[in-house]
Symmetry: C2
Subunit: 232 residues, 2 copies
Amino acid sequence: MATNELAEGGAKRMAFQREHEHVSPRGLFDQVEPKGSRRFLTAAVVAFSGRGYHATTTRDIATLAGSSPAGIYTYYATKADLLYEISVIAHQYILDETIAAVAVHEDPIGRISEVVRRSVTYHAEEHVLARVVNTDFRALDVPRLAAILKMRRQISTIVRDEVARGVELGVFDVNHIEGATIAILRLLDVAPWYNERGPMSPAELAEVYVALILKMVGASHQGGDRDAAVNG
Amino acid sequence: MATNELAEGGAKRMAFQREHEHVSPRGLFDQVEPKGSRRFLTAAVVAFSGRGYHATTTRDIATLAGSSPAGIYTYYATKADLLYEISVIAHQYILDETIAAVAVHEDPIGRISEVVRRSVTYHAEEHVLARVVNTDFRALDVPRLAAILKMRRQISTIVRDEVARGVELGVFDVNHIEGATIAILRLLDVAPWYNERGPMSPAELAEVYVALILKMVGASHQGGDRDAAVNG
DNA sequence: GGGCTGCAAGCAAGCGCTTAGTAGATGGGG
DNA sequence: CCCCATCTACTAAGCGCTTGCTTGCAGCCC
């Protein structure tokens, strides 16, 4: 069986490739060059997401990518390199999204709403990827972990600053800024439980979470329709 | 070095034992019999909590417990057995706590407050243990995973019923019961980030979270002891 | 002195990764 | 237009090591 599979390697590989080509609905890996490495990167995302970094073998990844166990090492020196490249791409993306979100509006309610909307939509749409980068980053070695933690701290800082700003402007009612910030950040990651076959689309879920978090920070949902408070 | 360590096994073991004797501040493993197995159970909690189930070797656990690699197998047939016993004990405890919490009060605000208070306090005090059972339970095989998931579903159901009850009685203001339930459940697990050397005690954190979640479900903070001016 | 408890030693399997080598595309010289 | 050197992408084979777990035996407490 193994011999047959490998004999028709070309067709097999394409079939595998097609399978996890759409791992990232937003195409976060589309720019990765060379194309060969993209194959292993998306295969690694699928494997890590399903069983976790440590439980995933390099052979699992190679099989998903439709190559022999050694194929990985044409593009990546270690299994950890795969995890690191995945982590950097995903964290850079959500950091950019968060930075962009706070630039859309001037008022605190609009800003925090936009941060929540974008982040929840991302975590739901990209839940396969997000499960990897929000769980397995602890497996990285110290210098690489530091680089990822730095990006995570930047996101935390943006959210904390927005909460503080809303409080200063008298728009939010929060007793404990740090507590509220951590609560918000924790809520944004819906990836661990989100199911794309469930009742809520990412966009619907995002609106539910915008409402919940606005109430949590004591910002009243102004007006009958949700866009009234957001459009500036 | 390794030789010396093993030569003075007795004293070393007691030192190790003392180290992770207080892994569980609430003494969740105090009733485990025989005592020998308790040693390995608490050692496994420390090891799993620090590096995760798959990254922890049986030798790590044995070393922490102050025994040879084979020592574990006097009490446990497999590494997974350790994880399973840990998971059952912890889940049974927090399930009992949650059942007890909703029995304290009659009014929805009092009930949900008590659930949040007990759960957050538990997750903060027992953050080493909670980190294991809320992350690594996915590593269990299907039948054991099913047993754990059943207990987790029971907790979810209690919280969902409390949210629904509060809405029915007109005390809570929630647009989406399922969304609010998942949000609450996610907030309760503070273990991944809680640091006992941080500024907040478990009890203080619990009160912050009670306030946040009450606002999230649209229940006003009744009583004037904290901050009567929640509704600005 | 019999039953636990625990250890030293080690096994089979599986791990991440390396090596030597090749099929197939590429492209410049004759 | 063909030949062949070159290069890239890939594989078969397997190395050295670690893993979870087993075995056979020894101390020790009742």
